[in-house]
Subunit: 209 residues, 2 copies
């Protein structure tokens, strides 16, 4: 059975939602294991033995441990093919899905991380404050591109729900804390509401609050 | 025909090398179009019409434009299956390949970018200097993980060359400029030498100097 290691209010919400959207059942298809960031459990020897990066998400399976959100999402799409959460038979379309998720992890998530994780990139507090100050503008710039160019609608890739949707939903949920009003991006706000309304989503969301 | 938009001394070296390793021939299978960063060509209206992100690499094909290095590399592996540059028939192994490339784009490339692209994340010069100061330590930490945990040897995924190798090679090439001696990481240094020795690689490298 798969084990998803997750922590509240992190990007591990994306694979957790993906499992739910794929029809995977907790206790039957996977186990969700909470990692307590408040208690720094992600830096415990036990967790570092699972994921030496000390981050979530991590997905443990029979063959080892998989990390990095875009990779986990692709694996879940392949593991639950009946849910058709990625265009697995169309290399160009699959690459477009991976491009969207890669943008989220390498640009949008990174822009967000400069608010509370600035110590990763500079030691002194004044520099971290300067980073925090730019987070709203950077997040707004990212979501402007998503609104104008990347989100096809109603779902990210168009008519079909995919692994891109729970990932976008996760990062959209960070906007308010980053000082950006999602209402500036009506198509993104519509996407957020549309995904939140799916029955499979609510139960997982309650674990991440 | 595919068109790869690239710029010297950027991560666009990775897909360029991948094309060469896949046996793709310039002029027959693809065209390589240089984007002149010194002249800010990446922000020209002409280039922004191709890639609104104003970055490289971008890969144009019959169905549009693909961006983001990990997505382009996956697409190239699928487009040139005879070269077997990704374990396309093994979802777990493919996800491990994607996890490696995702780590490179979202953590290692980002760590490096704080040296010369700090203005992305903070306006003031003192903050950017503080970021630059931490780049050597951050890059060393990333390559320590690659050396110890991620690089299986002789190639990233083990016995078979894959899309992970030209990407690692590209970022390894940034270490010296980032103030890190690659000799600290003997397995990574061996990987770099091994890839550089492949005949297909030299011609592409000469375009990126």
């Amino acid at each position: 059975m798969l084990t998803l290691y997750y922590a509240r209010q992190t990007c591990s919400l994306a694979p957790h939602l993906t499992l739910a959207l794929a029809g995977a059942v907790e206790g039957r298809d996977y186990r969700a294991a909470s990692v307590d960031f408040a208690a720094e459990q992600q830096r415990s020897p036990e967790y570092l033995a699972i994921n030496p990066k000390g981050r979530v998400p991590a997905l443990a399976g029979e063959r080892g441990v998989l990390t990095e959100t875009p990779a986990i999402l692709l694996y879940l799409a392949q593991s639950f093919p009946a849910a058709a959460l990625a265009p697995l038979d169309d290399p160009w379309a699959l690459a477009q899905a991976q491009a969207f998720n890669s943008y989220l992890c390498s640009t949008v998530h990174v822009a967000h991380a400069h608010r509370r994780r600035g110590a990763r990139w500079a030691e002194d507090e004044a520099a971290q404050a300067a980073m925090r100050a730019k987070v709203p503008a950077n997040m707004a710039e990212c979501f402007d591109l998503i609104e104008r160019e990347l989100l096809r609608g109603p779902w990210v890739l168009g008519e079909r729900l995919s692994i891109c949707d729970p990932y976008l939903f996760t990062l959209t949920g960070w906007l308010a804390g980053d000082g950006v009003d999602v209402a500036r991006f009506p198509r993104v706000a519509g996407h957020q509401a549309r995904l939140a309304a799916l029955p499979a989503v609510q139960e997982v969301l309650s674990l991440h609050r």
